[in-house]
């Protein structure tokens, strides 16, 4: 079965954004882009909540065309346009969207359907609200986290309203020159 993996940049105290959605504290440099790019390009499905999806749509489709486009802009823009997108939204309509599936209800059933289909891993990019729903329904199979060297003090937490303990297995860790640590976990369902 395909796995749904939460891909998040977090502060040491577990926030994914500041109280006003600030993300300027998140360090993503050349070294991290190269590293995440490899795993991202192996995935064939990206999952977003509506808010993150709108941010992505605003930037990535044309990011590779700017004269100042970085290598990462060009590569990720190409990948973004190709990848199948799943968006969790109760309000969006899917008319006129290519290669995009909207899930507006029956989250567990719809996600499990996708997991049963043949394919690679499904990466959830950021999307804290959607991630909270997925975690609460036990639909997240792994956490691919980038811990930033900062205590934020307040903001949007990654983990919210969790009823039961979730056991994890640490697969890999990696340290980056900018002070970020990658922690790669899968959920231990035994």
């Amino acid at each position: 079965m395909r796995k749904v993996i939460s891909f998040m940049h977090i502060s040491l105290d577990g926030f994914v954004a500041g109280p006003n959605k600030e993300m300027n504290w998140i360090k993503v440099d050349e070294e991290i882009f190269d590293h995440v790019g490899k795993r991202i390009s192996e995935g064939d499905t990206a999952l977003y909540g509506r808010v993150t999806y709108e941010m992505m749509e605003n930037y990535w489709p044309t990011a590779g065309d700017k004269p100042t486009a970085s290598k990462h802009d060009i590569e990720h823009s190409k990948w973004y346009k190709k990848v199948h997108k799943v968006v969790l939204s109760k309000t969006m309509k899917d008319t006129g969207l290519t290669n995009t599936t909207i899930i507006s209800d029956n989250l567990a059933d719809r996600i499990n359907e996708i997991k049963q289909q043949p394919g690679k891993e499904i990466l959830v990019f950021g999307s804290p609200a959607a991630t909270h729903s997925l975690i609460q329904q036990n639909l997240i199979d792994g956490y691919w986290l980038f811990v930033n060297p900062i205590i934020l003090g307040q903001g949007i937490p990654l983990f919210v309203d969790i009823k039961d303990k979730i056991k994890l297995q640490l697969l890999t860790t990696r340290q980056f020159a900018g002070g970020v640590t990658e922690l790669n976990y899968i959920v231990d369902r035994q």
């Binding site: 040491l12 105290d13 577990g14 956490y143 811990v147 060297p149 900062i150 205590i151 934020l152 003090g153 307040q154 937490p157 990654l158 983990f159 969790i162 009823k163 039961d164 303990k165 979730i166 056991k167 994890l168 297995q169 640490l170 860790t173 990696r174 340290q175 002070g179 970020v180 640590t181 922690l183 976990y185 231990d188």
Partner: protein
Amino acid sequence: MRKLIMWNVITLDGYFEGNQNWDLSFLNIVWGQELEKLSIEQLNAADYLVFGRVTYEGMAEYWTKEEGEIADLMNAIPKLVFSKTLKSAEWNNTTLISQNASAEIKKLKEQGGRDMYVFGSANLSETFVNDDLFDEYRIGIAPVILGSGRPLFRQGIASKKLSLVSTQPLMTGGVVLSYSR
């Protein structure tokens, strides 16, 4: 200058204790040779252990009944407990301080000497974070999301940029992240 170092093991969702006082069952997941070695190294390198009242009382109760190398070190090492309500501190080699914790720690840092460690003591630690007194943060992360408990870093704590010193994965699935100011 002496360094003030925070050492704690937390769950991935940031709790250093479960909902019940002293629910530290997640510690068992990560404990092993590597953390034992780290604990002994830290205790051998320290001049003081620093506690708030609640952690102090729990630690005193626990360690005075334990045996072994770590217990011997914990029981012998000089300890400071900051509390305005404790009347006496009976654990071996303890100094009870009721005055302003940050002021005392600043004085001790200026004295020079070996490191001071804070274990647990979330309320006291919050004061030290807000007053910018920690020189290092060593955080062991257990491979578990608990859901609820006592957070190490409470909402509203001062924002702090840190510098990553090392990442040490443990054979038990934990990982120790060390940061300096």
